[in-house]
């Protein structure tokens, strides 16, 4: 009896510990999520949206850059079809995230709603961490990590919408220092991939192009364009090797 009871409890234990592990490992994301979502809440209120509307936009669209664009274009009086088209265009990069994770995650009927949590940051974290986890804990890890990130984004928006001005006045450095958690996290994810000169060249090129595009005010297209440049660098090194070898 005892043995069978503990056997039946084992999957629940794995699920529980997987969720907690996902939550724990997604905590560094909050350093970036909270200040940005607080800013979004504040800007949405200043643009004439109510607190509930700002929270609903964060909960349903849940894609940082496109939310700022959505609110900005609505405020500027752009036609709604153009607002929707531009918002979706910015989010097109998400198309390549899912296929990269498909082989790492088990099949489940819950994916249609769980994939709502697949942001840039969650993708980066999942692609780095999932291969290092046991297959049976990956699903629950993904739930823990995505739910924490989503909840933090919604909470940050609510704080920004209700008390954004007071928060930024009281802790002016909070919004400047905490966002560094994101580059620090991504840096710790990218460094192990500098395995040879070819990858080092492609990754460095990608980072440089993304930074330059952001400096030039093109942050909305920086991620897909920089990744495409990085892929070109990756394949050009391969071609150079082949030509040199033949």
């Amino acid at each position: 009896m005892t043995s069978s009871g503990s056997d039946s409890a084992a999957p629940h234990r794995h699920r529980h510990s997987g969720v907690l592990r996902g939550v724990r490992e997604a905590i560094p994301l909050l350093g970036g999520y909270l200040p940005v979502s607080i800013s979004f809440g504040l800007i949405a209120i200043q643009s004439g949206f109510t607190t509930w509307e700002a929270v609903a936009i964060s909960a349903f669209i849940y894609a940082g850059a496109s939310q700022f664009l959505f609110v900005g274009m609505i405020t500027a009086g752009a036609p709604l079809w153009l607002v929707v088209a531009m918002t979706l265009l910015i989010n097109v990069r998400h198309v390549v995230y899912g296929p990269n994770l498909a082989g790492l995650l088990p099949r489940s009927r819950h994916w249609p709603w769980l994939m709502h949590g697949l942001t840039d940051q969650v993708f980066a974290l999942a692609l780095t961490r999932l291969p290092q986890l046991e297959a049976r804990t990956r699903f629950s890890w993904f739930i823990g990590a995505t739910l924490l990130a989503w909840a933090a984004w919604i909470l940050g928006t609510a704080i920004g919408a209700t008390a954004g001005e007071a928060v930024t006045r009281r802790w002016p450095l909070l919004g400047e220092i905490m966002p560094f958690a994101l580059p620090a996290l991504f840096f710790a994810m990218v460094v192990p991939r500098f395995t040879d000169r070819r990858w080092a060249f492609a990754l460095s090129c990608t980072m440089a192009v993304a930074l330059l595009l952001t400096l030039g005010g093109l942050s909305n297209v920086a991620i897909p364009l920089a990744a495409a440049c990085g892929a070109l660098c990756f394949y050009s090194v391969k071609l150079t090797y082949r030509r040199g070898g033949s």
Partner: protein
Amino acid sequence: MSATLWVAVLACAFGTLLMRVVPFLWMQRRLNSESGLNDLPQWLGILGPLMIAAVLGVSLMPVHPSPASWLATLLGLVATLLVWRRTRSLGLPVAAGVATFGAVVVGGQWLFG
């Protein structure tokens, strides 16, 4: 918010969700299926790490760009790298990076106003 604006919010939300979930399910069905793929296409496997590098490049931009914040970014990354080399983990390097970045920003403001 008017009804048409709500429709726009829901259209953006639904479109974004489709872009996240459909390629995932499509690839999951193709992988290891009899008529499909046995492994992830090479170009997709390469694009994944490059997307992370691109997100890193975008996030390197300081909130308030200045010589001090760029120096803080550089030193924060060095601290992250040093702690990562010792621990090979994610949490501690991030904490060290943020602490270093914050110390340089606060120190810079204290020294130069």
